[in-house]
């Protein structure tokens, strides 16, 4: 069984304020990579192929994914600011070419927070989808996958026929760290580069960011020194009690 795992390069969300934000693999995608690797280690998957879309700068994150242990990596060379639908259409053409049984990715990228690509890709492919997944088990000789999904009202369990698109939530697993032996091995693995033209897909983003602004700051509050003072403020000033 072949697994295609997609990942995006994002500014490190845990970098301290003011620190120059280093790029990292989107944390949710890292979870997806980990899950694919575990499937291979359990003997369920035979090949894990990683794919990302971006300019040559993202090769650093590709090397991290290779160092984690994916078998090979593809970069679709495109430096445009693409929207989720454009990304989904590019991935669609790649998936039809690579023909994996499972496409795994993070449920959202933590820079853009859109949470769309996996569902769009599944829609374009006509494949079933399992989103926000915190548990995956294969059923019926890997013809189906049983997935626990994190929903607003608790865990929902569904079974999807393969091939399917699965998007990872936080608690699916804890990704392994990149080890030095992994890093050394990764140096020997090639990174294949493709263009949209080679894939035969033509996309233009339909979403344009016109401006970016800072949200209004909350007015600074006050410190209280005791429970009594807090209760008094909540009653008399805020009128919430």
């Amino acid at each position: 069984m072949k697994i295609l795992v997609t990942f995006k390069s994002v500014p490190d969300p845990y970098a301290g304020a003011g620190a120059a934000a280093k790029s990292v693999i989107n944390p949710f995608d890292e979870i997806a990579i980990e899950e694919a690797l575990r499937m291979r280690e359990r003997g369920e998957a035979t090949e894990v192929v990683g794919v990302t879309i971006g300019p040559a700068q993202v090769d650093e994150q590709i090397r991290s994914a290779l160092a984690m242990g994916i078998d090979r990596a593809l970069r679709i060379d495109d430096s445009r600011a693409l929207d989720p639908y454009a990304l989904a259409r590019i991935l669609y053409s790649l998936v039809t070419k690579e023909a994996p049984q499972v496409v795994l990715m993070g449920k959202q990228a933590v820079d853009d927070d859109s949470n769309q690509v996996g569902q769009m890709l599944a829609g374009l492919l006509g494949w079933p989808q399992a989103t926000f997944v915190s548990k995956i088990e294969f059923l019926d000789d890997k013809k189906r996958a049983r997935c626990g999904r994190e929903t607003d009202s608790g865990i929902e369990v569904i079974a999807v026929k393969l091939p399917a698109v699965i998007t990872a939530d936080l608690r699916l697993n804890e990704p392994r760290y990149v080890s030095l032996p992994g890093l050394m091995k990764a140096r020997k693995k090639p990174i294949e580069t493709l263009t949209c033209e080679q894939l035969g897909v033509k996309v233009e983003p339909l979403t344009t960011i016109l401006s970016i602004s800072s949200p209004p700051r909350r007015p600074s509050g006050v410190r209280v020194t005791s429970v009594e003072e807090l209760i008094a403020k909540l009653k008399e000033e805020a009128k919430v009690l």
């Binding site: 650093e60 090397r63 160092a67 760290y177 990149v178 080890s179 030095l180 032996p181 140096r187």
Partner: protein
């Protein structure tokens, strides 16, 4: 002269930073109090590749050069506060792995190196004896050949990793009449009959690194566990000691960097008389001197690593690095406590432990006095 790291070195060092930050930032106060060795962290370090840094890929290692290795260890020390774990790792690398790499035959390397690299085996060496410390080659422990075996008798003290070791490199006299030329080295495995590793010694600092006394009572060592030739022990010890001296404190250049940053933060945050204490000249001066020590130590370390990379004689560089870093570490800890005032003396602030951990660095792997003797003799004195 080029002070820049290559892209590959940068990538490797960044991976160490991330590993340490995510995997080794555990609570140390209890472990120190109870002198607990962190086996899990040991395994994690091995899995990540630390123990195998200088070992060739053939035996599961990374084949890194000495300079890259010490730089990686520096990063490890910056993030990891468990000085005992670092000490155990260093003892394992410099006193077990390195002698094996240089003196082991193919069968010995194949048997021990992969396990020493992947963390399933813990190694160390046993040299010092109750009556021979700095005078290292005056050994009372003897090894007598009997058929296909050597029979060891005697005892060793201050054996780092002794209580948890799977294999110890033991130095013993095979021919007392030849003095230093009559010393041989043996790979003694923990299950050999006549070996007693059970005597743990309690220490002032680096308490999470187990240390013990080791006793040999007609301990049987098969002849294939003789490392190198008979009589080659002291030469072997001197050679690996150069690695040990130069590298063993690499992590603590990172420790000092962390202490420096802690002090800068504290000096900026802590207010007295309406201003941050960092504005007081006496505090600022201490911090500037701390910075100077960190930089001197780092340069001494990298210079040693660079000299090793170029295979020049490095006795001088190794001794200077050991002296500089150990003196600086102790002084940085004292100053850090002084800057923190009463808080620095409290266990919760985790600086008093650093001072306790640092003091041993002037003793192990050759005392500061011995290092000065080496430098003096190399200067022709």
């Amino acid at each position: 002269m080029d002070f820049a790291w290559s892209d590959q070195q940068k990538e490797l060092l960044a991976a160490v930073d991330r590993f340490v930050k995510e995997q080794l930032n555990y609570d140390m106060i209890e472990n120190d109090r109870n002198a607990v060795f962190n086996h899990d962290a040991w395994k994690k370090c091995a899995g990540f590749g630390i123990q195998g840094l200088p070992v060739s890929e053939e035996y599961g290692g990374l084949g890194q050069d000495p300079l890259t290795t010490v730089a990686a260890l520096e990063r490890l020390g910056y993030g990891c506060k468990d000085n005992g774990l670092l000490f155990s790792i260093n003892a394992h690398m410099w006193t077990a792995i390195i002698p094996l790499i240089f003196n082991g035959n193919e069968a010995q390397k194949k048997k021990f190196l992969p396990g020493l690299v992947d963390g399933s085996l813990i190694g160390g060496n046993a040299m010092s004896e109750p009556n021979s410390g700095s005078d290292a080659f005056a050994l009372a422990t003897t090894a007598v050949k009997k058929g296909a075996k050597y029979i060891l008798n005697g005892s060793k003290i201050f054996v780092t990793n002794g209580p948890i070791a799977d294999v110890l490199l033991v130095f013993a006299a095979t021919d007392k009449s030849k003095g230093a030329q009559g010393i041989s080295a043996f790979l003694v495995e923990k299950e050999f009959p006549g070996l007693d590793l059970s005597h743990k010694i309690e220490k002032m600092g680096i308490r999470t690194s187990p240390m013990g006394e080791v006793f040999f009572e007609d301990c049987e060592v098969p002849e294939e566990n003789l490392l190198g030739k008979e009589g080659a022990g002291s030469w072997m010890f001197t050679r690996s000691m150069t690695w040990e001296r130069g590298s063993i404190l690499a992590a603590h250049v990172g420790t000092m960097q962390r202490l420096l940053e802690t002090c800068i933060r504290y000096a900026n945050e802590r207010k007295q008389g309406g201003q941050s204490i960092g504005k007081f000249q006496q505090v600022a001066t201490k911090i500037v001197e701390m910075k100077m020590r960190v930089e001197r130590s780092r340069h001494a370390l990298y210079h040693y690593g660079w000299a090793m990379n170029h295979r020049k004689a490095v006795y001088m560089e190794a001794a200077l690095a050991k002296l500089e870093i150990s003196d600086s570490w102790v002084k940085c800890c004292e100053d850090a406590i002084q800057i923190h005032g009463g808080y620095g003396y409290m266990v919760e602030y985790e600086i008093e432990r650093e001072l306790r951990d640092s003091l041993g660095s002037k003793l192990y792997s050759g005392t500061s006095e011995i290092q000065r003797n080496i430098v003096a003799s190399l200067l022709g004195l």
